[in-house]
């Protein structure tokens, strides 16, 4: 039988507000354990939470960017469960009245655009982190509460995705939007962007939903895609074998490449939600919403459209470049100095991105600032260096942080466009390869390419390829 999958994602994103959700502690990452804490985020007896307005502001921004309705009235609730990283043994969250709901975002997979519904966006707080220390008798666990109380948004999608690649595209797009908004660092490996997936399968064409499982612990886009591929296959093979899907929470095991059961339905928590009595409800009036709407930055879709309209970039280029706000900023800055947008986009999508990835860098901390890339492209355009040399120069610039012209000068990479100098080398190559010359004269056009290659080799790639062609033809 032919099956299709139904996928919905629950994404948690840590907000990079100045202070935590309900106290004045900083949210910055990577400090010594338990140094960014106070009685409030440690859940000590007698403390009370105070709402951080910036959290609501970031929530409204996110809601608007995801085309949601912002609720005029919402409230916090307590989600009760016991876990040692949760200081109060309840999480302050939102239950029946979330901050924003009923939105969507657009993804593009294999050239096809698709709209994925956003059910809700709500505010909550993060928990601490458990660190297990091995030792006799099984060791012990330590808790770091630095993260406890850091504000989170939970963004819940509709079950609108059918393929793991769509889920991945959704996550990438969501991350891109959040980065454009500047509300989060969105680092999956540091846990500031996390995602759980609800997955079920059903015979293609069926309207009813199959029994779903929830998959957790996917710490990268790749892990998300692999985990979903595995889980969908697993569910299909259970059904094919005449079995039934058990409703359960599954954990993705990255090293083994499989999902395993974490909890079954019987073990599911009863969170006993009820309204948080220590906080007053939140009212968001239209004025506030409009003020935030006006302050929203240009988002990926708008920016991509702008690149298409302004520079005539192909849609593919525009989408790749605008997938990251930083990359798009970088592009704009290069184009400002070197206006051939298609050349810039080729370089940015090609060698520049490759070098960034290889060095694990972001555009804004690249050793090659935008004006230097523009300079490099200018050198190539002027004919000072060849395209091939330009690639070498860029690598060198990445390695050393030197300017394009400096690298070209120091390494003597200036293109040889002097007809006298090149003429000598051309003559040498012709006399050293009588057989090839013969072939060329007998009409084998390919032979010319070999001779050009020999000249380039002799000049270490510095020869002006156009001029070499011209000189060779003249001599022959």
């Amino acid at each position: 039988m032919d099956y299709e999958a139904v996928i919905g994602l629950e994404v948690h994103v840590e907000l990079k507000t100045n202070s935590k959700a309900f106290c004045a502690c900083t949210t910055s990452f990577g400090a010594e354990p338990n140094t960014h804490v106070c009685p409030v985020c440690l859940g000590m007896p007698g403390v009370l939470p105070v709402i951080n307005r910036q959290v609501i502001e970031f929530g409204i921004m996110t809601g608007l960017a995801l085309n949601c309705q912002i609720a005029p009235f919402c409230k916090y609730d307590r989600k009760n469960y016991y876990y040692p990283d949760l200081p109060k043994n309840f999480q302050t969250s939102q239950y029946d009245l979330p901050l924003a709901n009923n939105g969507y975002l657009k993804i593009n997979v294999d050239g096809e655009e698709k709209r994925i519904g956003i059910t809700r966006v709500h505010m909550e707080e993060d928990a601490g982190k458990l660190v297990h220390v091995d030792g006799p008798g099984g060791g012990y666990s330590l808790v770091d509460y630095n993260r406890a109380g850091v504000p989170l948004l939970e963004i819940v999608s509709e079950p609108d995705m059918r393929l793991p690649s769509e889920a991945r595209a959704y996550m990438e797009k969501l991350r891109s939007i959040l980065l454009y908004l500047g509300v989060s660092d969105c680092k999956m490996e540091e846990g500031s962007l996390r995602c759980d997936a609800n997955v079920s399968v059903r015979p293609r064409g069926s309207k009813t939903l199959g029994t779903k499982t929830e998959v957790k612990n996917m710490n990268s886009f790749r892990a998300l895609q692999r985990a979903l591929e595995y889980e969908i296959e697993r569910q299909i093979s259970v059904l094919e074998d005449g079995g039934k899907i058990q409703q359960a929470t599954m954990s993705w095991d990255e090293s083994r490449g499989i999902t395993t059961v974490m909890r079954t339905k019987e073990e599911a928590h009863d969170y006993r939600y009820f309204p948080e009595p220590d906080l007053v409800p939140i009212e968001v009036d239209n004025e506030w919403i409009e003020r935030v709407r006006k302050s929203l930055p240009e988002l990926p879709d708008e920016r991509s459209q702008r690149l298409i309209n302004t520079y005539g970039l192909p849609q593919y280029d525009a989408q790749v470049i605008t997938s990251s706000r930083d990359l798009a900023e970088y592009f704009d800055q290069v184009v400002a100095k070197f206006p051939d947008a298609k050349v810039v986009s080729n370089w940015i999508m090609g060698d520049f991105s490759r070098l960034l990835n290889a060095n694990n860098l972001e555009p804004q901390n690249s050793p090659v600032p935008p004006e230097q890339l523009a300079d490099l492209l200018q050198l190539q355009k002027e004919g000072t260096i060849s395209g091939k040399i330009a690639k070498q120069v860029l690598e060198e610039m990445f390695k050393t942080g030197k300017k394009a012209r400096q690298v070209v000068e120091e390494k003597g990479l200036v293109q040889i466009s002097d007809a006298d100098a090149l003429g000598k080398i051309v003559n040498e190559v012709i006399s050293a390869n009588p057989k090839v010359v013969e072939d060329y004269r007998n009409g084998k056009d390919k032979a010319l390419g070999f001779l050009v290659g020999q000249v380039m080799k002799a000049t270490k790639g510095k020869a002006n390829p156009g001029l070499v062609n011209k000189l060779l033809k003249e001599q022959l």
Binding site: P39, L42, G43, M44, P45, G46, V47, L48, P49, V50, I51, R78, N80, Y82, P84, P87, K88, N89, F90, S141, V143, Y145, D270, R272, Y273, F274, P277, D278, L279, V280
Partner: protein, 487 residues
Amino acid sequence: MELHNLTVSELSKLLAKGEVSSVEVTTAIIDRIEAVENRVQAYVTRTAEKALEQAKAIDEARAKGEELGPLAGVPMALKDNICTEGIRTTCSSRILADWVPPYDATVVRNLKDAGSVMLGKLNMDEFAMGSSNENSSFFPTHNPWDYDRVPGGSSGGAVAAVAAGEAFYSLGSDTGGSIRQPASFCGVVGMKPTYGRVSRYGLIAFASSLDQIGPITKDVTDCALVQKAIAGHDAHDSTSADLPVPDYQEALKAEIKGLKIGIPKEYFAEGMEPEVEESVRKAIAKFEELGAICEETSLPHTEYALPAYYLVATAEASSNLARYDGVSYGLRVPGKDIVEMYMNTRSEGFGPEVKRRIMLGTYALSSGYYDAYYLKALKVRTLIRKDFDEAFKRYDVLATPTSPTVAFKLGEKAGDPLAMYLSDLCTIPINMAGLPAISLPCGFSQGLPIGLQLIGKPFDETTLLQAAYAFEQNTDYHRQRPDLGVA
């Protein structure tokens, strides 16, 4: 007159005139505590040394001519659910028996700013759950009027200390009557301010939407003085009201002629002791004599207040008390894994009444029961509030008994939680509606004090205090002191 019998305002005058120093009076009260504490047992923790240091500092400030308020140098004590930096705060529970807060509650900061001298922390029903102080995990406090009787609860220690002259005033907390019922049992003045009038930051929560800190004093003037010092908006408490705090003491002397007092008939229910009803009726007659207009009225949903309260309060408590798990502070009883550690810690750390309420509240919030219990209780709460809204369209103040009975004997109701809960019948609806109410002495039955409860409009503590003050000026119940059997 013995120093320990003075009121705050009387002592304050002596201190201001230099007729007595704060160190002298603090020493006298420490002696007084020594003399009576073995019978009253109001204190969980005593901080005599620190108190003397604070007293000395105030005396020095006074000597330098610094301007000091009416509470400066006056020894007081706090119910042991109000956090004090560096001084253990136990909630009279084994689970917090050794817990030392790293911060001061906002009210403690306010009182420190006012120059208060803190004598120690006062016994209570564990986590403020109880009406007799018998639920303290440490020991029961005794009623200074009759050692065989309970002082009431849960602020039993806080009230007994004031009644026995072991502190000039104290702060208690009131979730369903925990200041007013013991104030009535021990013949002192106790006020629960409007919800939101006094910051709850640093008050160890029992039921967040009902808890409120309030003053316990020997008379109404003192109540006004202390209330002024602790009231006001606090950025640390989102539920605290951003409203100006009136000068209560200044307002006391206003006439009450023409004051409209409603007498809700539902508060004179069956089971009320005849002597209590008689005293309260006499107090109402006194108000009429003073020119007030008293009328019977009705608060029809009163009978549902108690069951609804025991759903709302326990539901919130079940969540508030979840943090006592042995992980990062308080008692930890090890187990083979984390779940067993939780269970051992909470089994040994909490007493039976606290466990009962955690279970009740957990049940009320459970999936499938939420609508039938918690949600319905919230609806009842709205109806109770509306009853009061209606009544306050016609009346300035409502008058009722504080408790249907006088102080009962230790052990008398300890085995019967329901009978114990009924002891708060007249005080619980006020917390459900978030209103201010005061209990003041209005008579005696066989040598035991009887309390009159006055209930006010939201944030109108002023009218309450005016009415209470007028009554007090024309009676002398508040001047009676128990005979503690010591020199």
